[in-house]
């Protein structure tokens, strides 16, 4: 396996880390704020969307996923697929089961 010795350690600028942190803090404020307004069903959609944006920021920048190779991306994404399967299929079972 030919691996470039230390070129693998990509240096993300310090500025970027602070920007990501700032964005994460602002987004936390947004979720709290939105929770006080009644959007009906949209509330949960907004909450989960904001949470996912935050999670993506953490993974891409703090966890360096942005600079990782394909294998790491597969390792990072496949549990999300399994999770979707787990939650999706369980829900369809619970709510569409015909109880005698």
């Amino acid at each position: 396996m030919e691996v470039k010795a230390h070129a693998e350690q990509h240096h993300i600028g310090i500025k970027v880390y602070f920007l990501v942190w700032f964005a994460l803090t602002v987004l936390t404020g947004v979720t709290v704020w939105v929770s006080y307004i009644d959007f009906g069903l949209l509330n949960i959609v907004i909450a989960l969307t904001v949470a996912s944006v935050k999670a993506a920021l953490v993974a891409l920048f703090f966890m360096h996923l942005r600079h990782e190779d394909k294998v790491t991306w597969i390792f990072a994404l496949y549990p999300l697929g399994l999770l979707a399967l787990l939650i999706g299929l369980t829900i369809s079972d619970v709510f569409y089961r015909v109880t005698p």
Binding site: V3, S35, V58, V94
Partner: protein, 201 residues
């Protein structure tokens, strides 16, 4: 490659670059299993919230939004200091890493203290896991997460001691990066727990 191997003692037979890459990959694989561990609880949460929306809406008011939000801010800040720590040791700044690790650990401890106050306040109001399915899930999910914070703090403390002893350098710092990955996952899970438990509108 030979000399670098000898330099790091314990990895003489492995190309350090390969060792670095594979240890990171191993951590990502472990994080995948962690995500699925919590995933089971998220599935249970989804089902019961869909079944009992009124109960979830009513009972979540018992939770302390302010403490929850404060803990979110603390964990996010600790993720920043962790990421900065990894960046600093990769540039060979060992003392800076020590400071940043210490701040990260303090944040983790503060998170735990807040959780202690939260739990004791709930107990005083006679709210236990057996109170309702909502609180059963609240205790289970935040409890399992708290356990991860605790483990994370212990790992970071060990890394701090090793770093003070001079174990990590610009060239050898994989344990810091891997410990950091674990800490970020703890943050990542809380990012979902906070709105799902504290902020049901």
């Amino acid at each position: 490659m030979e000399e670098i191997g000898i330099e790091h003692g314990h990895v003489h037979h492995i190309d350090p670059a390969v060792g670095y890459e594979s240890s990171k990959l191993g951590m990502w694989l472990f994080l995948a299993t962690e995500l699925l561990l919590f995933g089971g609880l998220f599935a249970v949460y989804t089902i019961f919230r869909a079944k009992y929306p009124v109960l979830f809406e009513e009972q979540h008011h018992e939770l302390n939004k302010t403490l929850g939000a404060a803990n979110t801010v603390i964990l996010i800040f600790s993720s920043l200091t962790m990421a900065l720590g990894v960046a600093s040791i990769q540039k060979g700044k060992r003392n800076l890493l020590s400071i940043l690790l210490a701040i990260t650990i303090i944040c983790g401890v503060m998170f735990g203290i807040n959780k202690y106050f939260e739990y004791t306040a709930k107990f005083e109001h006679h709210i236990y896991p057996s109170t309702s399915i909502f609180f059963a899930l609240y205790y289970m999910m935040t409890g399992l997460h708290m356990l991860h914070v605790l483990v994370g703090v212990i790992i970071l403390a060990v890394l701090l001691v090793l770093n003070i002893r001079g174990k990590f350098t610009e060239k050898y710092n994989a344990p810091i990066e891997i410990g950091g990955l674990y800490w970020h996952l703890v943050d990542l899970i809380w990012i979902y727990l906070f709105p799902l438990l504290y902020l049901i509108a």
